[in-house]
């Protein structure tokens, strides 16, 4: 898809999200986040716990009110929209989220069909009850579940099945953009692949755009077109998936990659994790995202750019 003209769907600029602003316990969860997501692509957002990746996702989908910065979606800035306003409701229909915990993301007191149809009801997408039931049945089938199970309650399903119900709920409002917040990290290995395949399949069928948040780098590499790496509330590296994996520039990305365990004993015996010293970020220098090679951004101070450029050149040598 690289050669088609790329249309920007989501554009995040200088996004900041602070909590308890102005109080003693102010938390600067994310700072200076800037990136674009192109229509039809999957952007992987990787980072460890506390890196701010979930906060970024939630700020973009406006579960939080961003402290500053802009979030352009389809050319409209949604960072300042009011909850409940007409434009906001429209955005709510076009953007959806898939959650991490398949046990906490479904209301235990609702039937599966009512969970899935929640968005249909809110946005009045069904003509009548029969139409609603049909839509639910189609969605269940789309995610590989038996439509006869529509009247059951969530606790009767396994983790993987619940996650598919969550996906069906997100798809019910026919969104264009889906933020998947660690959708597989709570699932068993054999089920993870099912869910990832399902997400890919749906993406092709419905031309969806994904922001895929995860800490499992091997899965992210597999599903993403481009990858953004976060650390301590900031983006540190952003490029195409293969660039980030094969030619990592930022030391944090290198450390992260070296720590991934590989299901291959021979490789594991040779693997040496590289430690990362985060003190290099706190030397007081001003850093911004710099395009080192085309489409490959690294969070760097002016004095570091040459070093990164040399490292990038060394990869290609």
């Amino acid at each position: 898809m690289a050669e088609q003209k790329k249309e920007v769907l989501v554009s995040v600029k200088d996004l900041q999200q602070f909590f308890n602003l102005g109080k003693k316990d102010e938390v600067r969860a994310i700072q200076d986040i800037t990136f674009d997501i192109y229509r039809g692509e999957t952007l992987g957002l990787v980072g460890e716990s506390g890196s701010g990746k979930t906060t970024t996702g939630r700020a973009i989908i406006r579960l939080y009110k961003p402290t500053s910065g802009e979030i352009m979606f389809n050319g409209k800035d949604i960072a300042k929209l009011k909850n409940g306003s007409k434009e906001m409701q429209e955005f709510r229909r076009e953007t959806q989220m898939i959650f991490q915990d398949p046990y906490a993301s479904l209301n235990p007191r609702m039937k599966v069909k009512d969970i899935i149809a929640e968005g249909i009801d809110i946005h009045h997408l069904a003509k009548n009850d029969k139409d609603r039931d049909e839509q639910v049945a189609n969605l269940l089938e789309l995610v590989g579940l038996n439509p006869d199970h529509a009247t059951r309650y969530p606790h009767e399903f396994s983790g993987g099945q619940r996650q598919r119900i969550g996906i069906a709920r997100a798809l019910a409002v026919q969104p264009q953009f889906i933020i998947a917040d660690e959708p597989i990290s709570a699932l068993d290995v054999s089920i993870q692949a099912q869910v990832v395949n399902l997400l890919k399949e749906i993406q092709e069928k419905r031309n969806l755009t994904y922001l895929f948040i995860a800490h499992d780098l091997s899965m992210v590499k597999y599903i993403s077109d481009r990858i953004a790496v976060m650390h301590n509330g900031r983006l540190v590296e952003l490029s195409t998936a293969s660039e980030v994996y094969n030619h990592p520039l930022h030391p944090y990305t290198k450390s992260l990659l070296s720590a991934i365990p590989i299901p291959d004993p021979e490789v594991e015996r040779k693997r040496r994790p590289q430690p990362y010293d985060s003190s290099m970020e706190e030397d007081g220098q001003k850093r911004t995202m710099v395009e080192i090679t085309p489409e490959h951004f690294v969070y760097a101070a002016a004095g570091e750019v040459e070093g990164y450029k040399a490292a990038a050149a060394a990869y290609n040598a």
Partner: protein, 338 residues
């Protein structure tokens, strides 16, 4: 190898129905059904439930079928001991101490044959059983109504406070602290001074101080639920806060609500009894368990039955409510069970 029967077809590729892969074999139980199943296993709670049902049924049915009119006075027939028809059961044969002698009090008071009072009469000659039934009804009515107010105020207040958080929560919680820092009794006495004593003012008085616990519990739960992913999901779908409260919060708060209600009702019964006992509750001639205890207590040394029977009723009532509440808590929240 003898254990295994291998035939020609054994190693042919099997045809597996796709259905089998997504098979769900657990029986379909809703949360409530599951909780009720656990409740049924709890014998103490089930016995309590039946006792309560019977007591409520009897007290309600006594509106139409009462052995005697609870308020009719028979001044000549006062202080009669219990008598059950013509059965000669000790304690229920109409014999009692009259002026130091153990005689048939009914004959002494010239009560016609065929008239009898199962639990005796009080100092004004009113039938005690009828009064206990009427009193239980009044007590339960007061308790239920007060609890209903409690619920409405407590749930709304708690949800508003917990859901909004921040400044609103802060203010609402300070108000709660002020209310709960004033002793109940003072509030109630002041209120009863302003309003005329009667059913309504007693209900209002009990409800006014009672909703605080409910509001606090609901707030704490709401704080927890509000960050649950299914609530976040509803938000991202564009659901309005009121609908989220109705569709997602209340169903998930229901167990807390039910359990807390079952603990509030006996407290209200007790508080009403207490107020009536000290004489600022239900005005005469209406009976409540509190006024009956208060009346009975005056003659306790000579006519113990006048106090013992109301006391038994109120004790059983309180105990049954508390045991049932305990059972419900274990049933709805299996983690809290020992």
């Amino acid at each position: 190898m003898a254990d295994y029967k291998i035939n020609a077809d054994s190693f042919k590729l099997a045809h597996i129905e796709k259905e089998a892969q997504e098979h769900i074999s657990t029986p379909s139980l809703t949360f409530t059904q599951d909780a009720f199943r656990r409740l049924k296993k709890n014998k103490v709670a089930m016995v309590s439930l039946w006792i309560l049902c019977i007591m409520i049924f009897l007290s309600v049915i006594s509106i139409w079928f009462s052995p005697h009119n609870p308020n009719t006075q028979h001044l000549n027939w006062n202080n009669l001991p219990p008598k059950l028809g013509n059965l000669n059961i000790p304690g229920f044969n109409g014999h009692g101490l009259v002026r130091g002698e153990y005689i048939d009090a009914y004959k002494a008071s010239k009560v016609p044959d065929g008239t009898w009072f199962a639990l005796g009469t009080d100092s004004l000659g009113r039938d005690l059983l009828s009064r206990i039934l009427a009193g239980t009804r009044v007590s339960l009515f007061v308790a239920f109504m007060a609890t209903l107010f409690d619920l409405t105020i407590g749930i709304i207040y708690g949800i508003v406070s917990g859901w909004n958080g921040g400044m609103i929560d802060n203010i609402l919680q300070r108000i709660i602290e002020i209310i709960s820092s004033v002793p109940n009794l003072v509030v109630v006495i002041l209120m009863l001074l302003v309003f005329k004593p009667g059913l309504l003012s007693i209900i209002v008085a009990i409800a006014f101080t009672g909703w605080v616990t409910m509001a606090r519990l609901i707030r704490a739960q709401t704080l927890q639920l509000r960050d649950q992913e299914f609530i976040l999901a509803a938000k991202t779908l564009g659901e309005s806060p009121i609908k989220i409260a109705w569709k997602h919060l209340i169903p998930n708060l229901s167990s807390t609500i039910i359990i807390q209600t079952m603990f509030t009702i006996p407290t209200a019964i007790f508080f009403e009894a207490f107020l009536s006992y000290i004489g600022i509750g239900i005005p005469a001639p209406k009976a409540s368990l509190g006024t009956l205890l208060s009346d009975g207590q005056k003659n306790f040394r000579f006519l113990p039955y006048q106090m013992v029977y109301p006391a038994i009723v109120i004790s059983v009532l309180m105990l049954a409510f508390n045991l049932l509440a305990d059972g419900l808590r274990d049933a709805f929240d299996p983690r809290s069970a020992r």
